[in-house]
């Protein structure tokens, strides 16, 4: 079986038509994401990182170029349950308890009852929330809610996990903890993860590849391959290698910034 990249973007452009003038959200974005990679997209607001993620998820439609997910169009990839999406807010339904929140996509996709039960148990264990099935979202902290939403995205076993600033609303301490957990999860499940963030340390800590983007028009400035070892304790953030990569990311961001 020939290995194909899980995401393949060639000169992707996306223009939003607004009342006064068209906004160029993405221009000539070309990128290849291979199976098992952990890719971070970093850049200031308006650089198109979220738009790119949404285009992969078929929530936006590119106006130019070629975008393939798992070798098919984003729409078909979605129908084939290729990806799970985690938004910045957990988006849990307040009238459903934790277990039935995770059940929701499985119900929609028409899984069997017994299998649903089994999968809910499995993903709750993955995010370390076993025993919280009967709780309601408001009884959980923000970090726990976000873990539930990750579990929900993992429940139907998609190959690709798209995460749009999932920890952006959480404090530093919780964020560090969740980053560690996410790395473990990534290693144990061997998913491909696309991760949008504002934070340089977060991007460097998590990724095998960092995509630096810049606004007006949204484009890719730099793609950095991280040589950090796959075993990453939090202390790695103080090593010279880590700081060097962070430095390169920072330079890329500065380069792309037009200061207007």
């Amino acid at each position: 079986m020939a290995e194909h990249p899980i995401i393949e973007a060639k000169d992707v452009g996306l223009i939003f038509q607004t009342d006064d003038e068209p906004i160029i959200a993405l221009k000539d974005v070309s990128l290849q994401v291979n199976k098992g990679e952990f890719i971070s997209f970093i850049g200031p607001s308006g650089c198109g990182k979220t738009t790119f993620l949404r285009a992969i998820a078929a929530l936006e439609k590119p106006t130019a170029g070629l975008l393939k997910v798992n070798n098919v169009t984003p729409e078909l990839a979605r129908q084939a349950r290729t990806y799970g999406y985690v938004f910045q807010a957990a988006g849990l339904y307040p009238w459903r308890n934790i277990a039935s929140n995770i059940k929701l996509p499985l119900e929609i996709m028409g899984f069997q009852k017994q299998e649903i039960k089994e999968r809910v148990r499995k993903v709750l264990d993955l995010v370390d929330l076993t025993g919280f099935e009967k709780k309601y979202p408001w009884q959980l902290s923000g970090g726990m809610q976000q873990r539930v939403s990750i579990a929900r995205a993992l429940s139907f076993d998609a190959e690709l996990l798209l995460m749009d600033e999932p920890f952006g609303a959480l404090d530093e301490i919780v964020r560090d903890y969740l980053n560690e957990q996410l790395l473990k999860l990534w290693k144990s499940t061997e998913k491909t993860i696309c991760f949008v963030t504002h934070s340089i340390p977060e991007a460097v800590y998590l990724s095998t590849k960092i995509v630096v983007m810049s606004p007006r028009p949204g484009r890719i400035i730099d793609v950095i391959n991280s040589e950090l070892p796959s075993e990453r304790p939090l202390e790695i953030k103080d090593t010279p290698e880590f700081i060097e990569i962070a430095q390169r990311v920072r330079e890329g961001l500065r380069l792309g910034h037009s200061y207007d």
Binding site: Y85, P94, W95, E107, I108, M109, Y136
Partner: protein, 288 residues
């Protein structure tokens, strides 16, 4: 509950106190006239006693109204034309019939409006226009038109109730069905959920709190509709007819007792909806 007991009781006492004062003030001229004609002078005590016990007072005293309600509720056969239970039942059945139809109509319209932009643009203005016409002007027409094609009794009143009660339901349900956030819709889309799945798993549960609020408004409007429907056309039964008859013959005590019955009926119906709301939302854990 005990914490709220004192304020509730003191407000109630205050209202009843004011009411007694006003009935003395408003009814005293009649009492004084009567005394003058028979060339008597009234002591203050006699004056007060008279104002609180007239047969056709301008403002009946609370005990007169409540003894009338008690008398016409419990001491009359419920089939009697003088029984409040009989009149209350007539109004109640028209109210509930109109409420059920109005709610159904409102929900159907809201679903159509939310799912189809053309319906939104073409129907919504008519719905709003329908509510700008004073119901008092419209009610006799409805009764005459429906009467001419053979519908009398409960049916025309239920139509008027429906006409008033569908509106809060449409407005509330449109708002409720549109209350899911973009994020929640996007999530559903990432799972390739169909329109009907989005509708049943997201829009409906999300709209329930709005639904119950609309029901309460709709029920109140429906009761008003039923009473208004009983005013014209020489209706002979129902709380509205009772009020009208009272005003023809200057039976103020009868008017006030019909008014209070209507208020009690409304309060009962709305508490019933509140109770259902609490049970349903608790079952769904919406209350958290």
């Amino acid at each position: 509950m005990t914490k709220n007991f004192f304020p509730i009781i003191s407000i109630l006492c205050f209202i009843i106190f004011l009411w007694y004062i006003f009935s003395v003030v408003l009814n005293s001229s009649w009492a004084l006239d009567k005394a003058e004609r028979s060339s008597k002078t009234l002591t203050f005590k006699e004056l007060v006693a008279d104002t609180w016990s007239q047969k056709k007072p301008k403002l009946p005293a609370p005990h007169q109204v409540f003894s009338e309600i008690w008398d016409t509720t419990f001491n009359k056969k419920i089939t009697s034309k003088r029984s409040l239970v009989y009149h209350g039942w007539i109004t109640f059945s028209a109210t509930v019939a109109g409420f059920v139809f109005g709610t159904a109509l409102g929900v159907i319209l809201a679903i159509a409006i939310v799912h189809d932009r053309a319906t939104d643009l073409s129907v919504m203005p008519w719905i709003i226009t329908s509510q700008t016409i004073p119901i008092l002007a419209l009610a006799p027409m409805i009764i005459v038109v429906l009467g001419s094609i053979g519908f009398t009794g409960l049916m025309p009143k239920a139509v008027i109730s429906m006409y008033l009660s569908f509106f809060p339901v449409v407005v509330g349900m449109v708002k409720g069905l549109r209350s899911p956030e973009i994020l929640e819709i996007d999530l559903m889309r990432t799972w390739s959920a169909s329109r009907s799945q989005i509708f049943f798993k997201l829009r409906i549960p999300k709209s329930l709190p709005y639904f119950f609020t609309s029901l309460k408004l709709g029920m109140a409007a429906s009761l008003v509709g039923a009473i208004v429907g009983e005013l014209p056309s020489g209706a002979i039964a129902g709380l509205g007819a009772r009020m009208l008859a009272g005003s023809y013959y200057g039976q103020t005590i009868q008017i006030w007792s019909a008014l209070f019955s209507a208020a009690i009926l409304a309060a009962t119906l709305i508490s019933a909806i509140s109770l259902i709301q609490r049970i349903v939302l608790k079952r769904m854990a919406w209350s958290g």
